[in-house]
Subunit: 470 residues, 2 copies
């Protein structure tokens, strides 16, 4: 006998109305379940909080001549775990009872206290995925804005900048922690490795906001950040196996190097084929979404491949945008992606801010003090170790070398992955972990400000004027 | 001592890389957890499957002169629980082990069998929310395309069409089931009530695809569908309390009527204020997303209010779009919403198809036969009971009355909510439940085809020609 219970057919349509909950004949009293309309409601409220925070922050920053992305980060801190607690995540140790949105739904939406942890978990998962889609859309858009040929023309400089930006902070950080602070070798190596990363997300967004993404400096920074991301993944594989077994798992490292190289080179070499296939497909399609849907199928497949090859989803999305050549279809696509990015990208930056527990910066909490002293050293190395990379650029005329160095400063993603692996391995002491967190926070939040300053320095303004003349 | 464990700060950034899983020093062997990169990977693969199904289906339909939305529904059936099982949902009784995407991730992505149910649950929740956001975006866009004044000018006709479309199928269905099939009164009333609904989503999308949304017929259908949705919610409250206690809970019904009226009238009356506030805010904003973000804050707040008042989120989103007057800002907004809708809306229609178990239509399964015979009657009443509504339109000249009636046919949402409440109350027999499901499937999938036919009938083509002349 076929089973025709309610849920078997079209349950979405039912879930979509909250009738089902409000007038249901048999409320499920025994098992804890959460109605779909509560999930939707909590996601809608979270998105409203995110968009308010994003616009408030970015508009204020725009008016005081700071990059809007900084405003989104700070707006996120404001609504997040450190302040208003409108947007909190399970990883902060919360079970949702301290989330203002959950409290609001308890008072107004018929949410019971027993349901809070389950609803909170689901809401957090959905927002987290939306944020990850946000950074995927951002890097796809950055890839579209970038020009593969231009990026290749500064390829050698970008490789040098990336290598110097990995070696100098790693060596200086590790040595300094060992000699000045008496940290043992393995934790010092971990902390040094965490100094090597560069956040493509922050850097590319600021460059794009300032209209500098396609400048020579911008392309060198972007290329170096991409290579840096790959280098960081390889360095992490080395230090992680070092911490685990005391030896380096050479096979794993070689597999990573080969797959990273194959993926990026493969994307570039097959780019022409992808590009022609894209144009052919778009010319076939007659219904709505005829450009945007094939483009996002391509971007999502590449993002998936990037993640599946133990690289990153954002590298795949960037490569997807990059290989689409300048054609009418791509120019049209670039326009269509703008509103999608406007809607998705702030979710990423606001949640980054919301998840950041800035109480670690408070020097009046005694437990913070040892870490804060160490962090002064780490921040100095983190900034100087990247700024010197600008000096390593060769063969280019009147470049703003300072801007290139500053562009490599924000840590973000990979730096925190190092922290995570180090924390899980148990080799990092609490003050050292705190110091790494402070370093990541300060470089991430300061870099947009510094980038804005160095790109508006007199040298740069002069160079710009010359460019306009020529 | 402050706790600086990995997860406490910036966990998103870490989750975003799957390094954490692949090179983690201590794999979590005791507790079942799923890495964030697997969640992202499963969502990306699901979206790719959805977009493939949507484009394949809609392009084929467009070429054989059928509405593309039908192609998205059928494409969904193809990848869903009835066929390829790329996209299945827990409500089908699946624990994910029969999902092709889960099986793929088990073979290639390091997913263990024990993790499958948890990952499957999370992936399904995320896709379900994206689908619900999809229908919210759709109704917001439909609201933007509609003109409040035009809709008000056909308001009386829309109310008459909605009321006739509720009373006729309800009376005919209930009476027929009682007299021809010997069904007792309460289940017959439930089944009759399920015949009253109209799916705004399907109808408005088809009208929009055919460019008929702003025709007089289109506006009457849209207005009647909105009113029908509200009436359906009230009818459900009545029959549900009837099944539960044998009496009608008058207070609940009055609260619903008052809140529904207050919400819709309030939105319309306060529309001018919302509209001016929107224009003022947009003129203040200088950073990216200056139109799209305030618009979506408004749409999401209204959708939340609609759901919170025990109406529907889509009613709120529709009202939000509707009250924004024809201004430069709104025309710009309408353009910006297009790519967002292109990306979100197919997720809704494809998942509707994917969740539909079409095996209930198979007459060779003996258990289906009794239900199928009853469903022939229900489908006939469902179609004829709505087609007659066209005859009730008065005071309008050369209208395509058949098109108005046909536009009210698709059941979708509310019809299934009735089924759900009836199933939970235990009053519906298995064959009757099956018959209601078949009725909903057939009206939902046939209506786009019928609408296309009646809007291209000679009478209509003639009327169109006259319109062009005048």
């Amino acid at each position: 006998m076929a089973d025709f219970t309610l849920g078997k057919i079209f349950p979405l349509l039912m879930g979509q109305s909250n009738l089902w909950q409000s007038i249901a004949v048999e409320p499920a009293a025994d098992a804890i379940e959460v109605d779909d309309s509560l999930v939707l409601g909590s996601v809608l409220l979270s998105l409203v909080a995110i968009y308010f925070a994003a616009k408030l922050g970015s508009e204020i920053c725009a008016r005081i001549n700071l990059p809007p992305v900084l405003g989104e980060l700070v707006g996120g801190v404001l609504v997040g775990v450190s302040a208003l607690r409108l947007l909190v995540f399970p990883e902060s140790g919360s079970d949702g009872t301290d989330s203002l949105i959950m409290q609001f739904l308890e008072r107004t939406g018929g949410l019971s206290e027993a349901q809070v942890p389950l609803l909170f978990q689901t809401q957090s998962e959905v927002i987290a995925v939306l944020a990850e889609l946000g950074v995927i859309v951002l890097l796809f858009e950055i890839g579209l804005e970038s020009d593969l040929k231009q990026l290749m023309s500064v390829g050698t400089q970008a490789i040098v900048v990336a290598c110097v930006g990995v070696v100098v902070p790693f060596a200086a950080g590790t040595a300094g922690l060992m000699f000045f602070f008496g940290i043992p070798a393995v934790p010092a190596i971990f902390a040094g490795a965490a100094l090597t990363a560069t956040s493509i997300g922050i850097t590319s967004r600021v460059l794009s906001e300032m209209g500098r993404l396609t400048s020579k400096e911008g392309q060198i920074i972007l290329g170096a950040a991409v290579i840096d991301d790959v280098l960081g993944i390889i360095v992490l594989a080395v230090v992680a196996s070092l911490a685990k077994t005391g030896e380096v798992d050479v096979t794993n490292v070689i597999v990573l190097i080969v797959s990273a190289t194959a993926f990026l080179l493969g994307a570039i070499l097959l780019g022409r084929i992808f590009n022609e296939a894209f144009i052919t497909v778009v010319s076939w399609l007659k219904t709505r979404g005829g450009i945007i849907i094939p483009a996002f199928i391509f971007a999502f497949v590449m993002a998936y491949l990037g993640a599946a090859l133990h690289l990153e989803a954002i590298l795949g999305a960037f490569a997807a945008g990059l290989v689409l050549d300048e054609t009418d279809e791509r120019n049209e696509l670039q326009k269509l992606v703008i509103p999608i990015a406007d809607l998705f990208v702030p979710i990423f930056f606001v949640t980054v801010g919301a998840r950041t527990d800035v109480s670690v910066l408070n020097p009046f909490i005694p437990a913070n003090q040892e870490g804060l002293i160490m962090s002064i050293f780490l921040v100095a190395v983190a900034i100087l170790g990247k700024v010197v990379t600008g000096a390593s650029v060769f063969g280019q005329g009147s470049l703003n070398r300072l801007a290139i160095g500053v562009g490599m400063i924000p840590r973000g993603e990979v730096g925190l992955v190092f922290l995570g692996v180090g924390a899980a391995s148990g080799v990092l002491s609490a003050p050292l972990k705190a110091a790494i967190v402070v370093m990541v926070i300060l470089t991430t939040f300061l870099a947009p400000v510094l980038l804005r300053v160095v790109f508006q320095s007199p040298v740069e303004a002069q160079a710009e004027a010359q460019q306009v003349d020529s």
